[in-house]
């Protein structure tokens, strides 16, 4: 195997848009790929942000944020949201996306996106360049057409996949298996 060095290259990474309010209640959003689910009970998600971002300070102040999952059709808008600071531009106005005030936490979510998670900050964890924010998921909201029983159909939502290193965006491809079921073929081998 070839050594590529000490780099954050783990695949795959999500593309999530983090919603927060500024001190004057203006809504802001930024794109983050350093994140992931981190607990089932209480249900929690982590996003990791640099102190240089407006979102870092908004979360520290308001103790709340939303995780908004864009579908592939929002790829250009989501990328733009990661390129510009909310201190310099009204990213909702530029993209035409709509900030919807959450009833559960002090943060706005993106009304047009297929899935949003409303999160209350449990705690920030300082690591280095990035601070890891653990948010308790107070609710998951999904647009009606993507609801599949008690969850959301990923093939329909079409979240964007990020490739660290190459910084390429990909779509989700075909279903290839079912967790806690596909592996039974190996269990038969082993028993």
């Amino acid at each position: 195997m070839r050594s590529l060095g000490a780099k954050p290259l783990a695949q795959p990474a999500p593309v999530w848009v983090i919603g927060t309010y500024f001190e004057d209640d203006r809504p802001n959003m930024m794109t983050a790929a350093w994140g992931g689910i981190c607990c089932s009970d209480p249900p929690c998600v982590q996003v990791s942000l640099r102190k240089a971002t407006a979102t870092y300070h908004n979360i520290m102040r308001n103790k709340a944020f939303t995780v908004n999952v864009p579908s592939a059709e929002f790829m250009e808008k989501s990328d733009y949201v990661g390129m510009v600071s909310g201190k310099d531009a009204d990213k909702f106005k530029v993209t035409g996306l709509t900030p919807q005030k959450s009833d559960l936490v002090d943060a706005p979510y993106v009304a047009e996106f297929p899935m949003v998670l409303e999160c209350s900050l449990i705690k920030p964890v300082e690591i280095g360049l990035h601070t890891l924010f653990i948010g308790e998921i107070k609710d998951v909201k999904v647009q009606e057409q993507f609801v599949d029983g008690s969850h959301a159909d990923m093939a329909e939502i079409k979240p964007i996949i990020f490739a660290p290193g190459s910084r390429r965006y990909y779509t989700v491809g075909d279903q290839i298996g079912q967790a806690f079921s596909s592996g039974r073929a190996c269990m038969r081998n082993g028993e």
Copy 2:
């Protein structure tokens, strides 16, 4: 939007196989989907595990683990690795996968997988059912045929995408954009 309740449904999630050693130096691996990159400098990745797992105790004792990225062809084996405890079965033997001792950290990696990250534990963070382990990435190793300049080609590695809730596995689909570039279309609109 339809409310699905307080659940860990954020999409997409990775499928990673975590390599550790038992106290008697036997290699173990388990599958985890609660994880993500969490810092660029030092480069860090988090995986979140239940105390009930052998891997939790192995990481606490050895302060090290590997994150192994299976390609789609290893879907059944990776799923099996998440279904059975290493206390009950030699999962390397059953799957025919090879534990390779890391030179950098006290953990084994899966020799057949396209990408592995060797991680040294920075700290565990107790949340609830899961404990979040922050690991500093000491090296990323990639099989030669997947190396693309200074990174790894995700379209070739074909990591598995996990859909929380439905628990379905998906492949990576087509490239749809380039981060910090595709969003320029919106910048032109806004300026």
